[in-house]
C-alpha cells in the first residue's frame, strides 16, 4: 500500500575508468529535465545550466598529454552545505536520501549556490525559452522552472516515483536493481551512458551493485583511505559533506611519467 513506504537510500557510483567524456549524460539530462538551452552567450557569461557536466582536465605537458574526464552532478550530500543556509527551507533532505529543491519555496537568494562546494546548483537568470518546435519535447513530469529560482539534479525523482508506484502495483516488491533496469527507471544520465560508467541503485538493498562500494567507502573514511579495497572515493571528501555519489579511480595502464615518450 502507499502508506507503508519502503525506505530507500538512493546512491550512484561513477566509474571514471569507463567514462569517455562523450557528454551523452549531459544531453539526456537536458532532455529529461526541461533544462533551458545553453547558448554561446550563456557559456561566455558562465551562467550555464547543466545538472550534470563533464569536467575535463589535462594531465602532462604537450605533446605528452592525456585528457581526464569527471562527470559532476549533485552529490546529494548527507551533510549538505546548501541546506542549512536556505532561509526559505526550500532545500531539504528527504527520507530517501535525496537533496530536494522545492521550487515553489525558492526565492532566489542563491546562498545555496554559493555554499555548494561542487558548484552543481544553478540559478535561472532568464525566463526559460525554447524554439517553438522544441516546446513539444518538454517532459510533462518535470516543472519548467521560471526565472529567479535555483535548480539542481533531482536524481530524476519523477522516474523513481513512477517506478515505485508501478512496482508496488504489479508485485509489491522492493524497487531493486533489476526493476530499475527492466523498466528503464534509473536517472536519464545512467540510462544514456554508452559505457555504463554510471550506476544507480539503492544503498539499503543488499543485492544492489553499488552496495559494495558504499560499504567500503563508508567503512574507511578519508583518514583510512589507503585501507579501501575498492577504487571508491568521494569528491572533496575532506569537507565531510558525505555525498551519496561515489567515484571510482581511473586505472591507467600507461601512466604519464617524467621523460616518457608518446604512448
Amino acid at each position: 500500500m502507499v502508506s507503508n513506504r519502503i525506505d530507500h537510500k538512493w546512491g550512484m557510483v561513477v566509474d571514471i575508468d569507463k567514462c569517455t567524456g562523450c557528454q551523452a549524460c549531459v544531453i539526456a539530462c537536458q532532455a529529461e529535465n526541461n533544462i533551458p538551452l545553453n547558448t554561446k552567450d550563456t557559456f561566455l557569461q558562465k551562467r550555464v545550466n547543466e545538472w550534470i557536466r563533464i569536467e575535463r582536465y589535462w594531465e602532462g605537458e604537450y605533446p605528452n598529454v592525456k585528457a581526464r574526464y569527471i562527470p559532476v552532478l549533485c552529490q546529494h550530500c548527507d551533510n549538505a552545505p546548501c541546506e542549512p543556509v536556505c532561509p526559505m527551507y526550500a532545500t531539504y533532505h528527504n527520507d530517501q536520501g535525496l537533496n530536494v529543491q522545492v521550487y515553489n519555496r525558492c526565492v532566489g537568494t542563491r546562498y545555496c549556490i554559493n555554499n555548494c562546494p561542487y558548484q552543481v546548483r544553478f540559478f535561472n537568470y532568464w525566463h526559460p525559452g525554447w524554439p517553438e518546435r522544441l516546446e513539444n519535447q518538454l517532459n510533462p513530469d518535470v516543472t519548467v522552472r521560471s526565472r529567479g529560482i535555483t535548480e539542481k539534479c533531482t536524481f530524476c525523482v519523477q522516474r523513481l516515483r513512477r517506478a515505485e508506484l508501478k512496482v508496488e502495483r504489479q508485485s509489491g516488491n522492493r524497487l531493486n536493481d533489476e526493476a530499475l533496469e527492466k523498466g528503464n527507471y534509473a536517472p536519464a544520465c545512467v540510462h544514456a551512458c554508452p559505457t555504463s560508467a554510471l550506476t544507480f541503485g539503492d544503498q539499503h538493498d543488499d543485492g544492489a551493485k553499488i552496495r559494495s562500494y558504499f560499504d567500503d567507502v563508508n567503512a574507511h573514511n578519508i583518514h583510512h583511505e589507503h585501507e579501501r579495497e575498492t577504487r571508491g572515493y568521494r569528491l572533496m571528501e575532506e569537507v565531510n559533506t558525505r555525498p551519496n555519489v561515489i567515484y571510482l579511480k581511473k586505472v591507467d595502464q600507461y601512466p604519464l611519467g617524467k621523460g616518457d615518450g608518446h604512448v
Binding site: 500500500m1 502507499v2 530517501q96 530536494v100 522545492v102 521550487y103 513530469d141 525523482v157 519523477q158 508496488e168
Partner: protein, 220 residues
C-alpha cells in the same frame, strides 16, 4: 471648529477608497476559498451538454447507472482519469440516437446526433476541463483508487466532508465521490461540490492515512 465645506470631498474619497478595498478583499477571499483558478465562476460550459445524472445516475432515479471507470477508463491504470474518445460514446449511442427515435424517449436526440456526427466526421469533442491541478503538482489517480478500493477491510476516518469513519475498501464509484462529490447527481459537474483540490486537503488526508508527506511525493 468649522465643518461642512471641506469635509465633503474628503468623505467622498474615503468612501471610494473603502469600496475599492472592500471589493479587493472580497475578490481575494472568494478566490482563496473556492476551487477553480480565481474561482469566481462555475465550471466552464461544455461544447455538448453532458448530464452525468442521465449517464451515471442510478437506474431508480432514471439514470443509466454506468460506472465511473467505464468511461474514465484510465482511472484504475494511470495518473490521469482521462475523458473517453468519441468512439466510447458510440458504444451506447449507436442505438440511442435520432435514427432509432420512437418519440417516447426523453433523451435529447438533437444533442446526441451531434455526438454521432462528430464520430462519423472523425472529429474529437473538445470537452472543457473542470478539475485542473497546477503544473507543479502530480496526482496519480491509480494509487489513490487502489488505496480506497483494495486491501483488507479496515475503518479509516478520512478528513473529508462530515469526517465520519468509513469502512474501506469502497467501491470505485464511492471512492471517486470521496474527492469529487456525488457526480452522479450533478447535471453539470461543479468543482465546488467536491473537495477543495488545495494542498491542505491533500496533506490532511495523507497525514490521517499515514501516507508520505514528502514534497516530492506530489510536487515535481
Amino acid at each position: 471648529m468649522k465643518l461642512g465645506v471641506n469635509i465633503l470631498p474628503l468623505a467622498l474619497v474615503g468612501l471610494v477608497v473603502t469600496i475599492i478595498v472592500a471589493f479587493l478583499i472580497y475578490v481575494l477571499a472568494t478566490a482563496w476559498f473556492s476551487n477553480a483558478p480565481f474561482g469566481l465562476s462555475d465550471a466552464p460550459p461544455q461544447p455538448i451538454p453532458f448530464p452525468h445524472t442521465v449517464h451515471a445516475g442510478s437506474i431508480e432515479q432514471g439514470g443509466a447507472g454506468i460506472q465511473c471507470e467505464f468511461c474514465h477508463r484510465n482511472v484504475t491504470k494511470g495518473a490521469s482519469a482521462t475523458v473517453p474518445a468519441v468512439e466510447n460514446c458510440l458504444f451506447c449511442h449507436k442505438q440511442i440516437n435520432a435514427e432509432n427515435d420512437t418519440g417516447e424517449t426523453t433523451a435529447n436526440v438533437a444533442q446526441i446526433q451531434r455526438v454521432v456526427d462528430k464520430y462519423h466526421d472523425n472529429n474529437p469533442i473538445n470537452w472543457e476541463r473542470v478539475h485542473r491541478l497546477p503544473d507543479h503538482a502530480r496526482f496519480v489517480h491509480e494509487a489513490h483508487i487502489r488505496f480506497l478500493t483494495q486491501g483488507e477491510s479496515r475503518i479509516v476516518t478520512l478528513p473529508m466532508g462530515d469526517e465520519k469513519p468509513q469502512q474501506l475498501p469502497l467501491s470505485i464509484g464511492e471512492a471517486c465521490s470521496v474527492c469529487h462529490g456525488n457526480v452522479a447527481e450533478m447535471t453539470e459537474v461543479q468543482p465546488q461540490e467536491g473537495q477543495s483540490l488545495k494542498m491542505g486537503t491533500c496533506l490532511d488526508c495523507h497525514r490521517q492515512t499515514n501516507a508520505s508527506t514528502d514534497c516530492t511525493i506530489c510536487h515535481k
